[in-house]
């Protein structure tokens, strides 16, 4: 069923009796050409692009819970392409371009809103770094604008520009950045993939791989063995666990990132603002809630909830830069488990096992990457060659010393 304004009016006039389920709930078939493990944003996008761009239709997505229950439905919905390094920026700009055409492409309202993102500057050194980053963005075809303190005061009058420790000295803006309704991304890709023949199998956990003579023949699941020509894994925070079934140890740790939402308010915040120096970022959802967050808790965890020191730290950061936040009440908070990689950048690659492919290491920034990650992983699975924008995301970059370390932190996942 195609969704359109006309359809909404027609259904309104006929008692909404014509709507059908957005995707089927099939039982698994004995075998597929390609099995994707993980029904998060990346797994569903991979299936969607396999079917829509690479003509693969015997594809299944296997999800242990329900689709959208992982990080794709837990993140703070920010999209942007403001990266510095060569391995990253072309990929994230490709992703932003896909976001710009996504809703028409998959015929679903994902509320892609390019309301802009602003990174605040507090010192000369930070200004130099952001100018460099802005230039790298422009060289890669993205947009970037350096704002003065006066421009910031005019556009964001509620910011505390005179904070004694972190006075605001300017900002780097990307006007094409913004937010997207995160669950709708999972649902839109799921519906688009399903309508092109992909089986989405929920409540089915992959418990192992069947590997014979160095070749992966399929996955063991709680619904039995499912054969596969190729298996693509995209399970975010569960990456190390899943790949341990194939005897792999990944360059990754799992950490929790918390998110916070205030009660609904009238529009007060025009775009996304990041106060990196104070470990705080914020945007306002279309429902009116202020959506904000900060740092990860810092130690390995698989519990999808965080501890209180980070709550305090995030709220302090918010109050320092955005004092009117103190008048709002916190409504909800939660956590998601992220695959923090050793250099803060992702991996989209084949493994040493024939027919077994891996996508992960997205850290706290994989939501914005969803379209490009799905596209690039579909490309890899269909053609056995890396997508042009993802050639740097290989396993061997650690062995070869070619890390993509945006923050320059070294092999400490909790610092990226």
């Amino acid at each position: 069923m195609r969704y359109s304004g006309f359809r909404v009016i027609k259904e309104a006039l006929t008692g909404h009796k014509g709507w059908t389920a957005a995707w089927r709930e099939p039982d698994p078939q004995p075998a597929y050409d390609i099995v994707i493990v993980g029904g998060g944003g990346h797994g569903l996008a991979t299936a969607y692009y396999l079917a829509s761009k690479y003509n693969q239709h015997r594809v299944a997505v296997i999800e242990k819970g329900w689709i959208g229950g992982g990080n794709v439905g837990r993140n703070t919905t920010i999209i942007r392409s403001n990266y510095l390094l060569d391995g990253n920026e072309p990929f994230y700009e490709f992703s932003l371009k896909l976001w710009e055409g996504l809703e028409q492409d998959f015929n679903y309202n994902a509320m892609v809103s390019q309301r802009g993102i602003l990174n605040l500057i507090h010192s000369d050194a930070q200004r130099d770094a952001f100018i460099r980053r802005g230039n790298a963005m422009i060289l890669n075809g993205a947009d970037a604008e350096l704002l003065s303190t006066a421009q910031i005061k005019e556009r964001y009058p509620f910011l505390n520009t005179e904070n004694a420790r972190f006075p605001i000295k300017g900002g780097l803006a990307q006007h094409r950045g913004g937010t997207v309704r995160h669950d709708a991304v999972a649902w839109g890709y799921a519906r688009g993939a399903d309508s092109r023949g992909v089986d989405i199998i929920q409540n089915c956990e992959v418990t192992g791989f069947r590997i014979e003579n160095g070749k992966c023949l399929g996955v063991e699941t709680t619904k039995g063995f499912i054969g596969a020509g190729k298996v693509g894994c995209a399970v975010a925070g569960s990456s190390s666990r899943l790949m341990s079934h194939a005897g792999m140890r990944l360059p990754m740790e799992s950490h929790v990132l918390q998110a916070f939402v205030s009660e609904g308010l009238k529009p007060v915040l025009p775009g996304v603002i990041t106060f990196g120096a104070g470990h705080f970022y914020v945007s306002q959802s279309d429902k009116g809630g202020l959506v904000f967050g900060g740092d990860i808790d810092g130690y390995n965890t698989y519990a999808q909830r965080g501890n209180l020191p980070v709550v305090e730290d995030v709220c302090e950061g918010g109050m320092a830069i955005f004092p009117m936040l103190g008048r709002a009440r916190l409504l909800r908070m939660w956590g998601g488990i992220m695959d923090m990689s050793m250099d803060g950048s992702p991996i989209i690659d084949r493994t040493h096992i024939d027919g077994l492919y891996f996508n992960g290491g997205w850290c706290y920034g994989g939501f914005k990457a969803t379209p490009a990650s799905g596209y690039a992983f579909a490309h890899l699975l269909a053609t056995d060659t890396p997508h042009d924008t993802a050639t740097a995301y290989r396993f061997d970059r650690f062995e070869r010393g070619l890390m993509i370390d945006e923050k320059g932190m070294g092999n400490q996942p909790n610092l990226h």
Binding site: R241, M252, G298, N300, N307, P309, N414
Partner: protein, 109 residues
């Protein structure tokens, strides 16, 4: 709030007093090792859901590094111990076995 007892100064330290340092009991490979061993040592981690041995520094206290055994699923702490050891003391292993029979960690159990 995660609280760990520093085995050096005996203080029950809140996590705000501590710095996490990642997986413990890594076998160090340096000059003379193969590229693969060196890569593994620097980058590959077990990252289990369950029993985890890890390094901590009593950063805002006595400043010393120590080790802890913790569950990454329940956030339960099994115990802390000195960093001057290549494997957890028997008391820690017993404390874990009491709660997680059949646990393993690399070649340890």
């Amino acid at each position: 709030m995660l609280t760990l007892q520093c085995p050096y100064c005996g203080v029950d330290a809140d996590e705000t007093e501590l710095s996490p340092g990642g997986e413990a009991h890594l076998k160090r490979f340096g000059p003379g090792s193969t590229d693969e061993e060196f890569e593994d040592y620097l980058f590959a981690r077990q990252n289990p859901k369950g029993v985890h041995f890890e390094r901590w520094r009593h950063a805002y206290g006595c400043g010393k590094w120590f080790l802890a055994a913790r569950c990454t699923m329940t956030l339960e702490v099994f115990g802390t111990y000195s960093a001057q050891t290549t494997e957890p003391p028997q008391t820690i292993k017993d404390a874990i076995t009491a709660k997680r029979p059949g646990w393993t960690w690399g070649t340890l159990s």
